[in-house]
């Protein structure tokens, strides 16, 4: 069943494959984000309660979902690095972490900008906000730990353990708004029931979300390529690649 996946576990194939993906991802991200942001910022209606400020939603929510999704992806890469000794997962972790940290930071900053006019405060120490901040710290920890090791594969394994331990935070972030009386409103689009959002706002959101996701995908592929090269610098194919580049 997994046989078709096998060739992709080869660094060279993975390098070529992600190389082919990047232009596609870039293109799709560009198209979706321009349509989505245009719809979201200019075309979609203002909210009945929040007026124009609701437009922050189109950036804030995709960034927040991706911040958690990318952490989860990183943890899965960590699991495969530890359990199945998958070398490519090492590169994947190092590729994902900074991108995830960036999206977490975006979610926090746009959240603060949204909270000031709506709630009346930039920041409040409630469960959702605090746990998202912890997520950012975890990303920083993962990046710092990975950089601290001289030996890259040893560092990647250490990072895998940390990433797996940090996964506990994800359900806390997601359910915090339901468990505790937080100021942050409940889930709108990531709950199982139909989204509690008018279609004229939901569609721009979906487009924006996929735009951001493809942007993240493209950034990660680019970083992944760099990591694969750095981790396989001894292999003949990397040397050929470097020679071809020189000419």
């Amino acid at each position: 069943m997994w046989k078709w996946l096998h060739p992709y576990a080869n660094p060279e194939v993975a390098y070529q494959f992600t190389g082919k993906l990047i232009p596609w991802f870039n293109g799709i991200a560009f198209i979706l984000l321009s349509i989505g942001l245009f719809l979201g910022l200019a075309y979609s209606p203002a909210d009945y309660q929040q007026g124009e400020t609701v437009r922050i939603f189109y950036i804030h929510v995709p960034a927040a979902i991706l911040s958690m999704g990318l952490y989860f992806a990183m943890a899965i890469a960590g699991l495969s690095a530890l359990v199945w000794q998958l070398k490519l997962a090492h590169a994947a972790i190092a590729a994902i972490a900074p991108v995830g940290a960036a999206f977490t930071a975006i979610a926090l900053i746009t959240g603060a900008a949204w909270g000031k006019p709506m709630w009346g405060t930039w920041w409040i120490w409630d469960a959702r906000l605090t746990s998202e901040l912890i997520l950012l710290f975890l990303y920083f920890g993962v990046i710092a730990l990975g950089n601290a090791f001289e030996d890259k594969s040893q560092g990647a394994k250490a990072v895998s353990v940390l990433a797996l331990v940090g996964v506990v935070n994800l359900p806390i972030i997601h359910y915090s708004v339901e468990w505790w009386n937080t100021l942050h409103q409940g889930a709108t689009v990531t709950k199982f029931a139909a989204p509690s959002m008018a279609m004229s706002m939901y569609i721009p959101f979906v487009i924006c979300f996929f735009g951001c996701a493809f942007l993240a995908g493209s950034l990660i592929c680019k970083r992944f390529q760099g990591q694969v090269l750095a981790r396989n610098s001894l292999r003949p194919w990397v040397k050929q690649l470097a020679l071809a580049e020189d000419n």
């Binding site: 920890g141 030996d151 353990v161």
Partner: protein, 228 residues
């Protein structure tokens, strides 16, 4: 062929050795305690003129001080063993790594956190803590400090092979400590306001069991990576 060592025997052997070493190396016990006392004294001095302010920040300050002094003592957990080669010997012993790790963590807790818990009421007095908060403080420290030792051990195990692990350790560990800190201070605050805090305590206990069953395995994996 001798029968393999039972898990309990292995646990006891390591626990005894670590306690013996700690008792011969008293600085390791005394220094974090002194640190704990000094941090709290500093707070008490800096806001000393306002007993009410002191009273409101007391739970938070005591807990943060406890957390920092645990962090300070954590490095000792594996560093010496790593440097003199006995960590390798432990990893190669015939019993599973998580038993050894658990024994070392228990020893660490007995040596550093237990004296701290016993000393806490005195410092709570210095911080002018509301009398209703004493029991809650004691209970949260009793349930919460083992979590600090367990989670901290993961961070130490990850950084033990690094030369400059100290600052990195706090970057890795402190975010994981935040939930315990929030719950514990909220519990003590609730107690001083005479409202029930068994909900907080139950969640801290849940965190304790969760870290008890996961941390030893994570530490084992981390140690294997570090000695690689």
């Amino acid at each position: 062929m001798n029968p393999a060592l039972s898990y309990r025997q292995a646990f006891n052997t390591i626990l005894k050795r670590d306690l013996k070493i700690a008792l011969r190396h008293r600085d390791d016990i005394v220094n974090p305690l002194l640190f704990f006392i000094i941090v709290i004294t500093l707070f008490a001095i800096s806001v000393g003129a306002m007993p009410n302010v002191l009273m409101t920040i007391a739970p938070g300050v005591i807990w943060v001080a406890a957390l920092l002094s645990t962090l300070l003592s954590l490095e000792r957990l594996f560093k010496n063993d790593y440097q003199d080669g006995s960590l390798e010997q432990l990893l190669l012993s015939p019993c599973p790594v998580f038993i050894l790790v658990l024994a070392k963590i228990v020893a660490h807790w007995l040596v550093t956190s237990l004296p701290l818990i016993l000393l806490a009421p005195l410092l709570a007095m210095m911080m002018n803590l509301h009398p209703d908060g004493y029991l809650a403080l004691f209970l949260t420290l009793l349930l919460g400090t083992p979590i600090l030792s367990l989670l901290g051990a993961i961070g130490v195990a990850l950084t033990v092979a690094l030369k400059k692990g100290g600052v990195l350790l706090s970057l890795l560990i402190l975010p994981l400590y935040i939930p315990v800190l929030i719950l514990a201070t909220a519990a003590v605050e609730a107690a001083t306001m005479n409202s029930p805090y068994q909900g907080h305590l139950a969640i801290i206990a849940a965190l304790f069991f969760a870290s008890l069953i996961t941390a030893p395995f994570a530490v084992g994996a981390a140690l294997k990576v570090s000695t690689n």
